[in-house]
């Protein structure tokens, strides 16, 4: 489990849904446009239903009756991208060692090592990772892709592009303790207006570098209530794989022991035939 020292704090109560974070992300990361015609398949406000290989963050709009205030409809808007989990299922699932944590708590994919097996895509707790085509070392190849938390910018003392572009202060990046304290303070401020408000920093995935202050229950935002590293993944990597290797190793050892034992105790190993005599040749 990575020790998280930094955080990207997403205060959903301050988001006005301008999508500047989406544009800044595309701009900085050189991600091509992801054309999407209106198809009425989802609520009609989101630009994309889900994250894609070329769209690493999206704004999700949820229109809902706010019964507590009895003031009609309310918008619940949230910037959505990789959570950079403390215990990242994608990292655990990757057989190539291509996914790792940086000192900033960001979870990054090494495109050179990635072989596009897609295990991370299936096992990601938040359905964030996608396979996409990239040019790596001058060659086109399929790789897993997702938000990098602009680790290249962090390395150079800058904030993630989305944070820099945010004009309402909904997105902030900084010292983790400071960000969590800010979130707590803000939660106190909005409790009256949003009684279901809560900080979403799930422990089931070892907390997350990107965490939310939600104005309503996680379900409202389409977020899992108790996200965790899949049990199947633990069974796979911590039990099935090591036990399987052990089983294969033990059989091999038994065979080696059998060969030696036969040499010692089985007269046929010394060249005697079925007739009790010696081989003809």
């Amino acid at each position: 489990m990575a020790t998280l020292k930094y955080a990207k704090f997403v205060d959903t109560t301050k988001c006005d849904g301008c999508r500047a974070c989406m544009v800044a992300c595309k701009n900085w990361n050189d991600l091509p446009v992801d054309p999407k015609a209106f198809d009425g398949a989802f609520n009609g406000y989101d630009s994309h239903e889900k994250l894609t290989a070329n769209t690493w963050n999206i704004i999700k709009y949820t229109e809902k009756t706010n019964n507590t205030r009895n003031e009609g409809l309310d918008w619940f808007i949230a910037h959505n991208s990789c959570f950079h989990c403390g215990v990242a299922a994608c990292e655990k699932a990757c057989p190539e060692g291509a996914i790792s944590h940086t000192e900033f708590g960001s979870v990054v994919i090494d495109e050179e090592k990635c072989v596009a097996c897609g295990y991370c895509v299936v096992n990601c707790t938040f359905d964030v990772i996608r396979l996409g085509e990239r040019t790596v070392n001058g060659k086109k190849k399929k790789v897993s892709t997702k938000c990098t938390l602009c680790t290249d910018r962090l390395d150079n003392g800058l904030h993630p592009a989305c944070v820099t572009a945010c004009h309402t202060g909904s997105l902030e990046f900084g010292d983790r303790a400071e960000m969590l304290a800010k979130a707590e303070a803000r939660l106190d401020e909005i409790k009256d207006r949003y009684p279901n408000a809560q900080i979403y920093n799930p422990e089931g995935v070892g907390e997350t570098t990107m965490f939310y202050l939600l104005a309503d229950k996680p379900e409202t935002y389409g977020l899992p209530v108790n996200p965790k590293v899949p049990t199947s993944l633990k069974v796979w990597k911590d039990y099935a794989q090591p036990v399987g290797k052990l089983l294969f190793g033990a059989t091999t050892m038994a065979v080696v022991a059998g060969v030696v034992s036969n040499q010692l105790f089985n007269p046929r190993a010394k060249g005697e035939t079925h007739e009790g005599g010696h081989d003809h040749e």
């Binding site: 190539e96 596009a116 097996c117 190849k141 039990y239 294969f248 065979v255 105790f265 035939t273 079925h274």
Partner: protein
């Protein structure tokens, strides 16, 4: 082959053990299994040394492609064998569910046999207790890694919660089947008591002493059956040492 065979076959009657389709199926399974194991091995270890295997296939993408081609070969080989030799395959499958006292007796002395100590067991049928376990385990594993492998190939078909379990399932059955294969290669080809038997799965015939020793009860039945067969369909033939083949 013939020189090797002469060593065991000289003066022996040759007993028909495997038909052409079961033999072909066996070797197609062996070849595709080996390719699957090698092309999938880099996924089991994170070290750079093991990733070198990808180079054999011209990179990871090549390894994935070869893995899938071999998987299709392995999977279609079984229905093909059933279609082309229903009788022979049925005989094999029937044996697997037919458990008798003699099978358990064989299994009880199996560890002695494995390590080359003197083991006494009653005459065995077409398959003995050990070969039955080998086949049964391999069939279960084959179903297990084929179903999970297909799910991994098409990861959006199954419900997500179920899909997640396909990965541990695949590795479990792959490791179990590899262990079974390892044991099978040793017992069928390398073990001193297996001498003379390996040719059965290659040529279809084994020398009588081998059949007597490993499958005595089956041999008695076969000798009886052979009496009733026309000359060109005889299951018991002779070994021509000069030509080095069954005649």
């Amino acid at each position: 082959m013939s020189k090797m065979s002469n060593k065991y076959n000289k003066g022996q009657r040759m007993i028909r053990r495997f038909g052409a389709i079961p033999r072909l199926y066996h070797w197609v399974y062996v070849a595709s299994f080996a390719v699957l194991l090698v092309s999938g091995l880099p996924k089991l270890f994170k070290g750079d040394e093991i990733k070198v295997i990808y180079n054999i296939f011209g990179g990871a993408a090549g390894a994935h492609l070869v893995h899938r081609i071999a998987a299709v070969v392995l999977m279609v080989a079984f229905p093909f064998s059933l279609a082309f030799d229903w009788k022979g395959m049925k005989k094999w499958l029937r044996e697997l569910v037919d458990w008798r006292k003699r099978d358990f007796a064989f299994i009880s002395v199996f560890p002695k046999e494995f390590f080359g100590l003197h083991a006494e067991f009653p005459p065995q049928g077409y398959l003995n207790g050990g070969t039955k376990i080998n086949s049964i385990l391999q069939i279960i594993c084959c179903l297990g890694f084929s179903i999970s492998g297909l799910a991994m190939w098409f990861p959006t078909v199954l419900p997500h919660e179920l899909q997640l379990w396909m990965y541990p399932m695949h590795i479990t059955f792959v490791c179990l089947s590899s262990a079974v294969v390892m044991g099978h290669i040793y017992l069928a080809a390398l073990h001193p008591n297996a001498k003379g038997g390996l040719q059965g799965i290659i040529t279809g015939y084994v020398p009588e002493f081998y059949a007597r020793e490993h499958h005595g009860a089956w041999l008695d039945e076969l000798i009886e059956e052979n009496e009733t067969l026309p000359a060109d369909k005889k299951l018991i033939r002779s070994w021509d040492s000069e030509k080095g083949k069954v005649v």
